[in-house]
Amino acid sequence: MNGAIDISYWALALSAAFALAPIVLSAAFRLRLVKDVVVSSLRMSAQLALVGFFLEYLFAWNNAWLNVAWFATMVVFASFAAVGRSSLNWRRFFFPMFAAFLIAGGSTTLLLNLFVVDLENPFSARYVIAVGGMLLSNSMRGTIVGVGDFYHDLRRDEGLYLFRLTLGATFFEAAAPYFRRSVRAALKPTIAAMATMGVVSLPGMMTGQLLGGSSPAVAVKYQIAIVFAILGATTLTVALGIGLTYRFAIDAYGRLKEEWLGD
């Protein structure tokens, strides 16, 4: 593959000048954004530099076990973020959430690599890490919305939840309306983005491939496949995320364990 034109470090530093825009605007209108912009800029640069450093080696070694370990690390971070942002007790919910991401993200990545890309080695670094990372980050966004909404609504409407239980609903039947609503909320952004894809935005992955020298036809094929995979992975992660955590969120009486749900 003939890659994109390299950027010199001096030129890269120059790109940080774009960050002056919010800083100047903040100074002029007292937006109080300077600190956030600076901190976020530094974090972004440091994290990516570190990842770039590791990826150089991972790609060079291309060891299946290391690639899977890297994938598992991404799953750990995704699970932490999803549990934390849905304001759940991470001690109790981390493992079910981890299982949800691992099963959903792992299986879609593997299926995509095996049957769509038709790789001989489905654990090759490029595909497990790059494709897997995209699937994980996208399903994480949906999962934060979906799982967060589910428990938020369940607690807010606890009176209705209890009423359903006395009307004959099982624990799962009583939670089903919240499940439906939150899965819908989780998938909406993905479905909406699909409907405008290519017209309003050129997705990041496609841009990357085009810069990397792929032909538009190849880039588009990958993009279509990955969007379908994202849709599947998000659905699976949200459904599993709710299904696996719900068992831990209620006690034998069906009461919500308030102390585990945080605030």
Partner: protein
């Protein structure tokens, strides 16, 4: 008829955080009995009803349903047999019909769809709601309409035990009396009504328990 009370509270204490709201409360309600629980707000009367269904943890004491301590299994059985309507009972999103259909879809009710649907219609009529209330959005119902829909549904499932928490608070005096006459008047029903107002029904015999009078 057996002498085992249907529902009994033995030295039940309720606590919200550090605050004790009910201390060593005792009550036995036998089958067919009608009981009115009176007490100010925060006296724990709503929590008592919820505790009987396993929805609220009690700090100490024990609640028995048909002579058995309310373990998860017994609480599940109690929920199957007891109809409960909470204060300002929410009915979910969508139309009243959607909530009815959802209820009919529960595995426990699936086999009795027609029967429940018919009785629900009769109850709506009894509570003086028009037949087309089914098409109304629940969000547009007034507090009193919501209470009457919830009561109609709870009383359509063929249950004979009713725990009613301030269900008449949004009804006018005439509808309130009509409602209480129904639930306190039917001889085969066992009813516990929580209220903070006094009520003097014409035909019903019932006992009053006052809470929080310390």
């Amino acid at each position: 008829m057996s002498s085992t009370p249907l529902l009994s509270f033995h030295d039940v204490s309720l606590r919200f955080g550090e605050r004790e709201i009910l201390n060593n409360f005792n009550l036995e309600v036998s089958e067919g009995e009608k009981r009115v629980l009176v007490g100010g707000s925060g006296s724990g009367k709503s929590s008592l009803l919820k505790a009987a269904l396993g929805f609220v943890k009690i700090a100490s004491g024990e609640i028995f349903y048909r002579g058995e301590p309310t373990t998860p299994d017994v609480a599940a059985r109690a929920r199957r047999e007891i109809a409960y309507v909470g204060q300002e009972q929410p009915l979910g999103a969508g139309a009243v019909r959607d909530f009815l259909e959802e209820t009919l879809d529960y595995r426990a009710n699936r086999g009795r769809r027609r029967e429940i649907r018919e009785r629900f219609g009769e109850r709506l009529d009894f509570f003086e709601l028009p037949a087309d209330v089914l098409d109304w959005e629940t969000a547009r119902l007034s507090g009193g309409e919501k209470q009457r829909v919830a009561l109609s549904l709870a009383a359509s499932l063929g249950k004979k035990v009713f725990l009613l928490d301030e269900v008449t608070s949004a009804l006018d005096a005439r509808l309130r009396d009509k409602t209480l006459d129904l639930f306190l008047g039917e001889p085969s029903w066992t009813t516990i009504v929580v209220t903070h107002e006094s009520y003097r029904p014409e035909g019903a015999t019932y006992k009053t328990t006052t809470l929080g009078a310390s």
